[in-house]
Amino acid sequence: MFFPILKAQSTKSLTRSVGYLHAQPKRVRGLVRDPATFLQSPCGKAYDIQSTSSLKTYLGEEYALDDNLLLQVLTHKSFAHGMKPFNEKLSVHGSQFLKHKSAIHTVNSEKGISALGSLESRKTLSTDILAAFVKQQGFADVIYWKKRDDSITDPTQSGENSIKAGVLEALIGALLVTRGAGVAEKFVFEKLLSENSKDSLVNIVRAQA
């Protein structure tokens, strides 16, 4: 049998007050850093809603998304130790949707089901091609992430390509979650898989070949 305590324990909690002693440019161990020093992209762009403008312009009215969601799309898990909304799950959702629609696109095309799993089909959705697409559209500079090692400059080794590919997948995921499968499908077919669009993934693969 339980005996409820008549008087609840003190509701006050101790709060630790931390004084900011911003030591710039060098970091001092034990001191809280000024958020402005680390809330920026590797290219030096401050973490700000204004930075989504290039992505906003690219999407236009047809595929418009909320500014905060766009900022989340551009933010990787490694940024600010995950304290800002990041794109991990949007990216997973978008990646699966892209693969799903790409398979349907291939099956319904002239190539048919035999083209599924082919080298060209796999290359179209590869990390490098998705990263090339993001770079081409010009919103690579405003991607917020933290390099594990600043000395690595090769984008395939530093994880940069994977981060860029993740942003494109997250964009598809964001369209899917907020606008539904119809809009996301239109975006995928029109912007990514169409042969008529010169910037599409299919045409990037052909150009690289």
Binding site: M1, G82, E88, V92, S102, V177
Partner: protein, 324 residues
Amino acid sequence: MNSLIRTSARKSLRQFSTSSIKFNSQQIIASEEQALKSAPLVALHERLNLPSSYKLGTLAQALTCRSSYKQELAHNYGLNILGKNFLTYYVSEHILATYPRLPLPVLNAAVASYISSDSLYAVGKYAWGIESDDTTALSKYLNEEAKEHSLGKLRFLPISQTDEAGVTKLSSRDRKSIHPAAAYALGVRSIIGGLYLSTKSEEVTKKFIQDHILSRKLDISKMFEFEQPTRELSRLCERQNLEKPVARLISETGRKSDKPIFVMGIFSGENKLGESYGSSIREAKIRASVNALKNWYLYKPTTVSVPSDKDYKPSVVDHGIVIV
């Protein structure tokens, strides 16, 4: 006389194993006439309630793995990829719509619980009753089994599970041979791929996945494992701009006995985030933190709709897991 029988048997066996069904040199799908002669194939088609547009030949193709000895028959490689994409997307869409805040490792585990090879093996073998074609060509010949009979069975080259006593294996494992669970998973995925190919309808395929794969019960709440629940909860409250979580004793009994029970609650300001019990205050506090975290991660919208629904209503967009 004996030699005559042996020669005749060898000739028939060769015919059976290499050209049991007359096909062209190209890999082709078995014709409907041939497929209709396979009782297991017709029965499977009926059992799965597949539409009439789903040809028996396509179903036979879905059951033919690349490692099958019937090389002349079209195999299920492409159908498997198509089916896998459908399965992965619709299963994860369903889980994400039901639990929008589910952490990615738990989401992956939940998706795997539905569509891993072992799960699909159980579906294929025990729910759908697909048989594997594991009788030898000699047995088939001696049993006078119809050539088309095996079209309704799963055909693959299995990994030899046991070593024969006294037999030394000289060659390495055949690279094409696969585990039965993997073969069954290929078959199930290919049947789903074949359904889309036959109907060209995403709605029909989605319904089939809902009926056969997502209809199984899965308790996601048992998939969580927190290393530092109190710290994670504190971090979560900080990120969500909530007041710091405070543990309060709600009730207790038998403090001085050998079996005390404490009931603790975790509060953020006036709001109770979680509650649980324990044989010590510390245990109860940790359990209450876990309860609070589960309440957060297992949030479920009142009306669940998935993005592929026509009347889809957007729900919560998750900000990501808490990194401790």
